[in-house]
Symmetry: C2
Subunit: 347 residues, 2 copies
Amino acid sequence: MQNILQDISIRRKILNYNKFTGKEFTVGQVYLGIDLGGSNMTAALISSAGAILDLEKIETKAQQGPEKVIRRIVCVSKTVMEKAKIETKQLKGIGIGVPGVLDTKQGVVKYSPNLPGWKNIPLRKKLRAAFKKTVIIDNDANVAAFGEKWQGAGKGYEHVVVYTLGTGIGGGIIQNGKISHGSCDGAGELGHTTIITNGPRCGCGNYGCLEALASGTAIAREGRKTIRSHPGSCLAKLVNGSKQPLTTKLIFQAARAGDRVALAIIEQAGTYLGISVANIINLLNPQIVIIGGGVSQGGESLLKYVRAEAKKRALKELYKCTKIVRAKLADRAGVIGAAGIAIQDNP
Amino acid sequence: MQNILQDISIRRKILNYNKFTGKEFTVGQVYLGIDLGGSNMTAALISSAGAILDLEKIETKAQQGPEKVIRRIVCVSKTVMEKAKIETKQLKGIGIGVPGVLDTKQGVVKYSPNLPGWKNIPLRKKLRAAFKKTVIIDNDANVAAFGEKWQGAGKGYEHVVVYTLGTGIGGGIIQNGKISHGSCDGAGELGHTTIITNGPRCGCGNYGCLEALASGTAIAREGRKTIRSHPGSCLAKLVNGSKQPLTTKLIFQAARAGDRVALAIIEQAGTYLGISVANIINLLNPQIVIIGGGVSQGGESLLKYVRAEAKKRALKELYKCTKIVRAKLADRAGVIGAAGIAIQDNP
């Protein structure tokens, strides 16, 4: 009898609960989505309709090594379940996005530049042992892209390409509704195609990669150059006034205030990104290209240049049927996408 | 009784017949593969194991318009079946590659620069009516790529990218064993990604596309420039001696004879192609990249430069697990691939 009452109470909870919108809704199943980052990790309970029931974020403490980080993943997951009064047995499946090089079929993290000590860690097996549930793991950029496809700007589309512009440039390719992994989970390195053959050196060793031309790091580098060459510009004054290091945020701020040199930096980055987008349109013929990540939050100004350049270079017939838009889910794309891949794997 | 005898005779035929290798083999099923080109069309009977039972080639006579061309497709198909003593009822399915923009799901040829008058032609429906068999249509470049994947250099691989270097540059992308079509059958335009942002104008309207830098047309253009600037070169002498217009074949011939200027032209084209291949490796993580088409027949010299440049630019981990090889099937890739897509659709 108590069990039945408890089940009813949990069911009510699932049926009527949306902390973030305050709206009532019905869900079929609950999934756990985990977004593991080098600095923080987030766990969220997400309905099969894509609503966040509850969410919990803690520090990763990556320097403590894989065993302790995995314990923290289990801990933050249990915390969010307790908060939402959902029991493990109520979970249908678990998805996790990991910043590293994976073997998604084996569920193994091969290595991760952001997670010290992670070398061939069988993460899926360990989480399955902890929760006794189906677990699916994927690269964090793929997972965030899938989140945008499932519940963000790409909702309703089956052929989606997502660029994530941050310190670097990552992304994910979705074709026929599924993440493209390539032959050994290496597909989707959108930041590492050559745009300018003899361009600046990229972190990957190549020259003129998109990442070396249009990432937050590249935009800030151009900003620093510009301040030196245009000490009287609005941008230079903003930076000197704020007494903070130059960020892409300041460059976008100066551009909004009408500063020509700041606008020129954004135009240049947007143009490079537009070349890459045109290439992607001609290669993959997506329905929608989504630009996300911190840099994209600068506003529509960047996108204007991306669209203009892509239009000039892509095949007309293909450009015509491709939308180029900003991402919608911001830092929630990760947990939503993680639940999304778990749902796709085990609907 | 006569029917049974006829069936046994046809069955013997299918079991023991391979005109091209002279070897005996067993086939499960017979498919019809058709390669429709602007100048010629080829129909072949192909076993489910990929062996060509018989093959027939006729002129397309494209200027006569779609109705007559379709009648010629039916005619050449019936001819090859008669030659091989195979009846229509013995066919399991039909596949056809068409040089144009298609709606593969609807089986319609939307338009074709090489087939005058083809505008929204329901080719699949018409061939189905003629043969009373399952018909599948696809773009000729995709079909040829699928042929290489199925029975050529890509045999055994599931993630394959094929470049076809001819007058232009086309290609096909195969992921998880299937042709990538994108959202509206536009994917795989490998010749139309920007390699040099301010490079030569491409036929598509863009500047610096791979096609404008490494196609047969582009290589011959570089050859003509070189002859003017190096009138004493081996290449110039070859061209003047042959009294024929300069072709890529002559350039490869001069290069094999050790002509430095000819080698420099091939190095340049190979380097551009290598940049494109590196981009494809980082975007799609294929197992194998296959270089086909007339230009690739020049030999290994082009591929040497492609590999060297791709190695310099692609992510090390991904380059390591990607083969870069020449195509194997030459002009038979089309019919073999056409049968291949019919088999994949209706095994």
